[in-house]
Symmetry: C2
Subunit: 366 residues, 2 copies
């Protein structure tokens, strides 16, 4: 069993190589072992490309008799952009297939395992399952909740404020923390902000401080109150990568046309009880229509509070700096006050010292 763990660890390392290129598909790695030697390895390299099993099997001549195949996710059984991997495995006849976790995709779930077992292949499921689930937390959330995995990120002072009362929020975190944020941006599919952040900070929301691709930019602007000279509306690459959501109220129609005339993508969507764009609908649309599997929430207190109240935050990344300002804006100040006696919805995952700041990652407890 411990050798199973060792080979599965290699398969997980393979899977990790696809990070940043496969979303909203899962990260998958595969290792083929014969006579205690790794004879092939593969991973899912890009969205729509060959699956990890195919990538590994293609490196082996002939069948897989006498082999064990380690794969981080249950082999698929459906004809998607590629033929079913379970069928390919049945054809290649490995002695055994070891799977880290079941596929959460309802059209695959359990079917991959049954297909293999039904064809006389020994199957073990659940080796390094926790690690595999962590690796594919984005994909799992996409499948189970029909929305992007949402990471909220904010910087606070030592005494917990994300901005001065006058909304000044520059100068909180150190340069290395800002570089770290750009690295995170390069790994997500889109960044989301509210119109208040666009008006106050006029952010560029791109990747400048590290090498990497720019994520899409999404703004929630219920009444389209966006400055016409903002980076969001004017940057050279904004036409292609920016998406603005407003309510489908009549008063927006003229503005929508005006924005569209500038070549911008604007979507109007139902409002919620507060007369604002319904965030849940926006998230559903982002995954289904725009393949946004992983969304980074870089909002101010209003957006953070709204997403927290709707229980739409899956992960929080905080940067705490050594500054003390006494009073200011709190990240969740618009939520209904919560009692300390209540269990936390989050748990601490990891910490890192980034120059003068503390970076902490908090994940959903359940």
């Amino acid at each position: 069993m411990s050798s199973d763990n060792g080979y599965m660890k290699l398969a997980l390392e393979q899977a990790e190589l696809g990070r940043g290129n496969v979303s909203p598909n899962p990260l998958v790695g595969c290792i083929i072992v014969k006579d205690e030697k790794v004879i092939a390895s593969g991973y899912h390299k890009e969205f729509g490309g060959a699956h990890a099993e195919v990538d590994a099997i293609n490196k082996v001549n002939g069948d897989l008799v006498g082999c064990t195949v380690y794969v981080t996710l249950e082999p698929c059984t459906h004809h998607g952009k590629t033929p079913p991997c379970a069928d390919l495995l049945v054809e290649k006849k490995p002695d055994r297939v070891v799977i880290a976790m079941e596929d959460p995709n309802p059209i695959v779930k359990g079917n991959g395992v049954s297909t293999l077992r039904g064809n006389g292949i020994e199957v073990t499921v659940g080796i390094l399952e926790a690690e595999a689930k962590k690796l594919n937390r984005v994909f799992i959330t996409n499948m189970n909740k029909n929305r992007p995995f949402v990471t909220a990120k904010f910087a606070i002072t030592m005494d917990g404020f994300m901005a001065q009362r006058d909304h000044e929020s520059k100068w909180i975190s150190c340069e290395k923390s800002r570089i770290d944020v750009h690295k995170i941006r390069s790994e997500v599919d889109a960044i989301l902000v509210g119109s208040g952040t666009v008006r106050q900070d006029n952010p560029m929301l791109n990747v400048r401080l590290v090498e990497g691709r720019n994520p899409k930019r999404v703004a929630l602007a219920s009444h389209l109150q966006l400055p016409l000279n903002s980076h969001l509306l004017n940057d050279e690459d904004s036409k292609e990568s920016t998406l603005i959501y407003c309510t489908n109220e009549a008063q927006n129609i003229k503005l929508v046309d005006q924005f569209r005339d500038k070549g911008l993508k604007v979507k109007s969507i139902s409002k919620n009880s507060k007369g604002k764009v319904d965030s849940s609908l926006v998230l559903f649309d982002l995954l289904k229509e725009h393949q946004i599997g992983h969304l980074l929430l870089e909002g101010g207190s209003k957006l953070l509070s709204e997403f927290y109240e709707l229980d739409l935050i899956d992960e929080i990344i905080t940067y705490q700096s050594p500054k003390i300002i006494g009073q200011g804006l709190s990240p969740f100040e618009y939520i209904s006050p919560t009692k300390l006696t209540l269990e936390s919805r989050f748990q601490l995952d990891s910490i890192e010292k980034i120059d003068s700041d503390v970076k902490a990652i908090w994940t959903r407890s359940k």
Copy 2:
């Protein structure tokens, strides 16, 4: 030079062994080396006891000709509770003395080095000086500022609050963090709280969750508004270990007598411009009259804010928990709001994951 570093590291490890027993004296360690072998080691074991050099030299027969002595602090030249170590070294004739840092005590400063050099002993100063200064940050502050070294400690929610608006502050940090606080309490000389904390939390302020000695308990209670049934005034050990500071106003006289009749120690002291006990005078008194070298500030926002405004905080230890409460009491909410553009007075020293909490230690930048 690199072997000097190695031996000095051993001397620093010796010094560390005295922690918790020597305050307000410095932690000092000593290593004696001959022919590249350590032939003796020693450290300052308890307040008023033998100095590290004496402890080490006593383990060597005869003189120190051919030896190098490594000591973490400049040898003393004054007759205190023990005779001057510099004289003893001159008598024992080592070839060389290596010193990590100069003694900040104005009656020693530089004199130890001159005495040794004046008697033909080669002296090197400054090996692992930064480490030695960190080790003796308490003693250095005592000497340079004539007050205890002040460590402020507080727990906050992920969104930066140390209590709910109704002052409820239990349930913030995890059990392991509370154990960690008791370990810190066992290493300081006294804990300081304000009367508000006594009224709201009725803390015991002792060491219960770990083995270790109880620190003294100090309360700032300008107008002696302390509940007569509080732990502070009634616990069995409180008579000996508790010290209460009030203002020297006439209205307190009757109450002071009442407290003293109960066997409690009460000191009246000049008030500041706000009519409260002058914290700076209290700190001076704690060091000079009560040998409190290291003080742990466990106050609420008012005390933290006052000490911050007076620049009396040398170190801050924060415990950040995964809870989010939206609104609450901020640790420094009574200071005048500070601009983010200003440099921070603190820098991050170290971080540690304590179960579900982030522990961070922040130290004075300058």
